[in-house]
Amino acid sequence: MSSSKHSSSQLRVGDSPLVKWLLIGLTLFLTAILLVVPLIAIFQQAFVEGAAHYFNSLIEADTLHAIGLTLVVAALTVPINLVFGVMLAWAVTRFEFPGRKILMTLMDIPFAVSPVVAGLLYLLLYGNNGWIGSWLYDHDIQLMFAWPGIVMVTVFVTCPFVARELIPLMQQQGREDEEAAVILGASGWQLFRRVTLPNIKWALIYGVILTNARAVGEFGAVSVVSGNIRGETNTLPLHVQLQYEDYQAAAAFASASLLAMIALLTLLLKAFIEWRQERSLKIEAEKERQVTQ
């Protein structure tokens, strides 16, 4: 009796068992109906007509093409934004220049603006009647309603991920390491490869994973510029919608299940990298503790 009194007197505000379990219960319930059940439903629906039908619908020509196009888009987007993100992060953390603060704000536009708006903007600019598009049309270059357009909007939508991961880390690490390396005679490339890159490695990989996940799953912007030509400009997310509209529910869910699996894989990788990062920090802390003892 006295011990329970003792422990209840130690509780902070909002720590009463009722509040605690109510919050935990509500969170778990919402997680279940909002996240877990739909995820299970995707796979359940995909297999509703049996495993054979599932695999058959995946190897259908249009589906295979959609998978291929999606992979190509990701394979082009990720390197472009990797380079761009590193450059952007380097520029804003290592140099002082007029407009630096504005640039850091502008960088988030792709997150702030609806992807559909982004798609429309590109359509207006690069479409056959657009400012740049009409010139391109005269030179027989088509970007919109073709795969280059899809890559362009995907690059736009995913461009902040890498820089967003790198900037806080590079700000925190400062430029002293790089200054030390230059004083010791390192060239620009030696500096980047031997000093900067090892320091930002994990954050960079994390940024790439997020970029990839978004590039594979992007729907809104892509749907505006793709023209939805089956077997030509259909990415996997667009293909899911097309199949569903064609009353091929099981096939649509089969394609959707691929996207879901990519998402799960991304989460797994993300967890692994966070674990790696945490572990290396822990090892460092442990080593430091040993030294001081």
Partner: protein
């Protein structure tokens, strides 16, 4: 290698970090740049290294003009305040870095690099830590590794930014002595930045005192202490107490307190700077001075006892500090809250219209007689 600094200035936006200043550093000399934060000492060091560009002026290493030479090609050794060791490399890799990034033609062979690294680690007495990572080292060890790394390419100029700032007092003292030994043995030219006057005075051949982006005084430590040439240097270089006096009948008067002018003093108003150990302390006013003070704190510091005092019936901007040998303190048994009188033995007088001080001495025998009475 000698370093010539001529008319160097630097702006950061609106802020004038360095007014045009010049400085000659002789070959093999060890120079301490001393000043409070914001005095421009680190900026000057970074300009010498080439990490910052100067707005005007030029820099010469020996006969070579390096003003427009890239940091990479200046080949100076630089030790950062926080060491800036590469955290993902072992101690040995850190030290080897400067050798491994050399152009292929100049780069020693891998075995040669290995030998040189081991030799450097022996020099800093840390060869047993070669395969450790920086996070496994203590502050003093990191400092020595940073130094070994800076010396790996055998620079003729070594620059150090607050080299002992982050270390505890004992390690700092040990490393200071060790650095001085290394400097004398290897014969490079060193410039280091510090805000610690004791460090600057102990370590340097000459001290450069800086404030607000310009040089206040350049002198050998002894000369600097004996003849500071401005109020700033005096304030910065050591616990001086300031008495603001108005000339009245051969005395400097400050409300109820006064000090008799010694022989040879200028008949002017001004400020008298008196170092904390240049006092006689008594329980009564003396013929030389009437400076009543109340004891507010008593701190034993090493060989001396430091009294903190506030003026009674006269004005001073700061608390006065007076250092007494234990013997003198024990004899008098001062207590907190007690009133006592002090009499200066020597002091520096800045007439209100003068930039340079005059050294004054009171006739000490007379004071002693009164004290014993």
């Amino acid at each position: 290698m000698s370093i010539l600094i001529e008319n160097i200035s630097k702006h950061f936006g609106q802020f004038q970090a360095l007014s045009p200043l010049s400085l000659d550093i002789n070959e093999g000399e060890m120079i301490g740049l001393l000043g409070p934060s914001g005095s421009g000492k680190t900026t000057l060091l970074r300009i010498i290294a080439g990490l910052e560009g100067a707005d005007t002026g030029r820099i010469q290493f020996g006969d070579r003009d390096v003003t427009n030479l890239h940091v990479r090609d200046r080949r100076v050794g630089f030790v950062f305040q926080n060491y800036a060791l590469f955290r993902h490399m072992t101690v040995a890799d850190n030290v080897a870095f400067g050798l491994e990034v050399l152009p292929r033609k100049e780069r020693p062979s891998p075995t040669e690099i290995k030998n040189r690294v081991m030799h450097l680690l022996e020099m800093v007495q840390l060869e047993h830590l070669a395969s450790r990572f920086p996070s496994q080292l203590s502050g003093g060890q990191k400092q020595r590794i940073a130094l070994a790394r800076a010396l790996a390419t055998q620079p003729e100029v070594l620059l150090l930014d607050e080299p002992f700032g982050a270390l505890d007092a004992k390690v700092r003292k040990e490393l200071r002595r060790w650095l001085r030994g290394l400097h004398d043995e290897l014969g490079f030219t060193s410039v280091f930045v510090t805000h610690d006057q004791e460090e600057a005075l102990e370590l340097s051949d000459r001290v450069v005192v800086m404030s607000n982006g310009h040089i206040e005084q350049i002198d050998q430590p002894g000369a600097l202490y004996a003849s500071p040439n401005s109020r700033f240097v005096f304030d910065f270089l050591g616990n001086a107490n300031v008495f603001e006096g108005k000339l009245e009948n051969g005395k400097w008067q400050n409300l109820q307190a006064n000090i008799v002018l010694p022989n040879g003093a200028e008949q002017k108003d001004g400020q008298l700077y008196i170092r904390s150990h240049e006092f006689f302390v008594s329980k009564e006013a003396t013929a030389q001075a009437n400076l009543p003070l109340r004891v507010i704190a008593i701190n034993p510091i090493g060989a001396e006892v430091r009294l903190e005092l506030t003026p009674i019936d006269w004005h001073s901007n700061d608390v006065w500090e007076i250092d007494l040998p234990h013997k003198a303190f024990d004899k008098n048994c001062f207590e907190k809250g007690q009133t006592l009188y002090v009499t200066p033995k020597a002091g520096y007088f800045f007439a209100h219209d003068a930039q340079q001080p005059v050294l004054l001495n009171w006739e000490t025998e007379k004071v002693q007689v009164t004290e014993q009475a």
